[in-house]
């Protein structure tokens, strides 16, 4: 099976390298930015282009892994062919391919990717969608080479999944950043937080987060909360502290 990657970002980089590792042939890489296209193509040992109209027509699978804002436009510029076209975007419906491809679908791996960091694909949940039962099977076969955790999910539900992932990953990571900032400003080494970060993540494997919740906000302990708010000079951090504390308290009242 020959695969073309349309996009060369974090997800495209890790997914294409993993596909090659399990024996798929990567036929070409496209990116609007020549530097990105070349870097990934070099790593994969395949040709590259920055012109969407020059994407080869004889591949079996086309993986569109682009920012949502440009996905529709780039799809419209690729020459129609007999391959299976899929995108990897959480919030974009399968219907973006309508009128541009005959066979199409979605491969959505629920994970955070950075170009430089390898991740264990076997554990990544893959969510698939296709416009025909036959191509659903093709996508199941492809995803099954990569992961042991593959299921079919509608565009509507995938959108919710992406929203949940923004909380669980993007927001969590930013909260880590804010915690690190507090320590850095006071000359305390940031890595002292790592065992706490690890245990907080590990706990939700064995108990629901509502049960794992600890800290002053559960009972809205104003004693501690007011002290903390007074220590936060940045109004945005103060607003985040207050919003989340009130939300923790509200949820705890419902338990």
């Amino acid at each position: 099976m020959r695969v073309v990657f349309v996009g060369a970002g974090n997800l495209a980089t890790r997914l294409s390298l993993e596909m090659r590792k399990v024996g798929l042939e990567i036929g070409q890489v496209y990116s609007h930015t020549s530097e990105h296209a070349e870097t990934l193509a070099d790593a994969l040992g395949c040709p590259w282009t920055t012109v969407a109209e020059e994407i080869i027509e004889n591949a079996d699978l086309y993986v569109f892994s682009l920012k949502d804002a440009v996905l529709q436009e780039v799809i419209g510029r690729v020459r129609p062919n007999r391959g299976l076209w899929v995108h990897t975007a959480g919030s974009m419906p399968i219907s973006v391919f309508e009128g541009f491809a005959v066979r199409y679908g979605v491969i959505y791996p629920l994970q955070t990717f950075s170009k430089s960091r390898e991740v264990d694909f076997r554990k990544i949940p893959f969510f698939l969608e296709a416009n025909s039962p036959e191509d659903e099977i093709v996508l199941r076969d492809v995803a099954g080479l990569l992961s042991g955790n593959v299921r079919i999910l509608s565009s509507e539900k995938r959108k919710s999944l992406h929203l949940a992932a923004v909380f669980a990953c993007n927001f969590t990571n930013h909260i880590y950043a804010l915690a690190g900032k507090i320590l850095k400003e006071r000359q305390i080494p940031e890595d002292v937080l790592l065992p706490l970060i690890d245990e907080t993540a590990a706990k939700v494997h064995v108990m629901p987060p509502a049960k794992a919740q600890t800290g002053p906000a559960i009972r809205y302990d104003e004693n501690v909360i007011d002290k903390h708010l007074a220590m936060l000079e940045d109004p945005d951090m103060r607003a985040i502290y207050e919003r989340i504390s009130r939300s923790i308290y509200k949820e705890a009242q419902h338990e």
Copy 2:
């Protein structure tokens, strides 16, 4: 060395059990609530009391592990003695013991504890403070039995550390809860988020959170963000989403 635990909550439970495990004798447990005192004393095989004035006088170490709001009051009710009195509270200064004890200090383990969950103490960073160099050594010896990661930290810096921990643990855990809620409402199994949660935590061991940041907020992708806000019916969740997204964007501009 004989230790008395004043308090029987999450931290007191895990710390006392660990102390017993490394060979310290737990002489007594106090809790205002007889059920809590009895449960922990049973697990430790020691006597218990609900009357602070009845706390024994011949122990070497008194660990006050109480809610901030009642700490000062309970300290005032314990009969003065020659033992070393310490508390375990992030946001309370060492000075709460002034006028009540001769020898005093703080043992602050930076971790989240639940009564029912064992944690690996060897990895927990312990932050100590004492009102004399001699007792600093005593506390170093005690903490050194429990953990390989022990240091001295002032009350002022400990307060910052506690604030950072509220972000890294309490807020992170609540963000997990909100993510789970989104999925539950749409009948998607919440455990699909676990590999993402694990990887998000694992990443910050090898790169700073600012570098690990992914997702639509970095470039404030209104396309995705507006869709997400429209999906959030709860005004508190919407406010949290917006606040954190703006903060991610702001930090990314500074990079």
